[in-house]
Symmetry: C2
Subunit: 295 residues, 2 copies
């Protein structure tokens, strides 16, 4: 297992997600010197933070695919910002990092989620460690989503910490504390890996693997013609069975889930996903075994 | 008691509060002909609704004080909109209404709140009626706040229905249904008044009377330096005693309520009030007796 030399903690990738932005502003992770690696921090989208908007021109956390990064003519603020960040912290950058921990919040009632883009042994071991320390942590694997455009993808090990529900443009002390704790646990894990303290015991790990996204029913103007059904609202990570209600229209008519198998919805009613055509994300709940440091 | 001839239901006064906007868009209150009065509806801030913003230039629901309305030189979109609405539905307007029901949502976990600007016998009787039908309804009286700049102030009887928590820019089926039910109950009450069906029995009514607003601690740049304390978050309408925690800063230090008496905070952590310098609103809980129609 590789040794970690530099770890980057990122907040404010989305400018209206204040948890990460204020963790950066308050210097919570500055001057951490007790680890076997350097910790650096970044407020990723300062202009969007100042404007209290998710983004200025385009979503920064959808701006890191390799084609975009290599295209100097793209002129959104976030394109420039993405190139700068990649040129500084990416593998070929001036100041490359081994790990990125990107801090996000969601309006969905998801509690604490660790998002993994791949299911490498190291990523799974980190996940198992966090779940052992705090069994309420959920692990969402996007390895089958096809998406590789997030800020965290420029590091060999990139993870996202997603805490909700939090209203964009607000501070939530519980989410702030949960996020800080999770970051400290990730740092602790990385340090144990560096110290080769990991044991060889197998840990069962529950993964919520990306399956597909479901959009709202919409009219020709693109406006939703139905709402998340009250029985689905707030039921992130709970089983959704074929025939269960998913939407209710303004006249009270129910629409049912038409899939063939039981799935586990997440990001239910996330505000920022209306414009992306996502009412919720369907996942499969699967158990894997992995080996790594014990909590 | 006066007879009601025209009742105006308003949504989209704040363009990102979708409950009211979609109740208007969906025509839920159109073609209501069963009452002893006419029902008319209004999407109050269509440009803000289209832009999914609370407002374009300034808060429409702070744009109805008489000096502003009489000043033709004020040129914000909302100033023009306020003048048009007042000239149409106000007492001296082309199409005056006797009652305005303005539909709002809050990010605070307040459930269903009826906001009254004055404590006239009629307003209190309406409140007592709604509370009798649904005991979870709370009544917030702003009569002592000094504010008379809301859209609803242009009608002899103006009320606000405020439901939360709802994230701006999202649809919430429960809030949608609650709001629709409350509107129907208000219409039912007004109809009973017109039909002179009210009994003379006294109803005890709990009022939460406006006392003052409390802002976040802030730095010189105006940024909050502390968050709502987790023990206060979501505790709308619950007693706050002298010495109880109200804020926690980013290092974990607690700040306590320094008032001399027990109060009842509402609008705790409402997103739109950060810019207004309001972390929460303090109220006094008081019992009054009023006479009116029984449920």
């Amino acid at each position: 297992m590789s040794r970690f030399k530099r770890v980057l903690i990122v907040g404010g990738t989305h400018g209206n997600e204040w948890t990460g932005a204020y963790l950066m502003r308050s210097g919570t992770f500055d001057a951490l010197t007790q680890y076997s690696f350097d910790v650096v921090t970044l407020l990723a989208n300062p202009r969007a933070v100042a404007a209290n908007l998710r983004y200025i021109g385009r979503d920064l956390n959808r701006s890191f695919d390799r084609q975009r990064l290599n295209n100097d003519r793209l002129s959104h603020y976030e394109d420039q910002q993405a190139r700068e960040i990649a040129q500084r912290f990416g593998a070929d950058g001036d100041d490359p990092v081994d790990v990125i921990i990107d801090l996000h919040t969601t309006t969905a009632d998801m509690g604490s989620t660790l998002i993994l883009d791949d299911e490498s042994p190291q990523a799974l071991q980190l996940a198992a460690y966090l779940c052992a320390v705090d069994p309420s942590v959920k692990v969402y694997s996007t390895s089958r989503s096809g998406r590789r455009d997030g800020l965290r993808t420029i590091a060999p090990l990139g993870i996202c910490i997603e805490v909700g529900p939090v209203v964009p443009g607000t501070l939530d002390a519980a989410a702030f504390g949960q996020t800080r704790s999770l970051v400290m646990q990730v740092l602790e894990f990385l340090d144990r890996v560096n110290q080769a303290e990991q044991s060889e015991c197998a840990t069962p790990l529950t993964l919520y693997r990306h399956l597909e996204t479901i959009d709202y029913p919409r009219n020709q103007a693109g406006q939703p013609t139905a709402m998340i059904h009250p029985q689905l609202q707030r039921q992130n990570y709970q089983p959704l069975h074929p025939g269960d209600p998913i939407f209710i229209d303004f006249a009270g008519n129910m629409m049912a889930y038409a899939g063939a198998e039981t799935v586990y919805p997440i990001f239910i009613n996330e505000v920022a996903y209306y414009e992306k055509g996502i009412a919720f994300v369907l996942t499969q709940r699967q158990q894997v075994d992995c080996y790594g440091p014990t909590a």
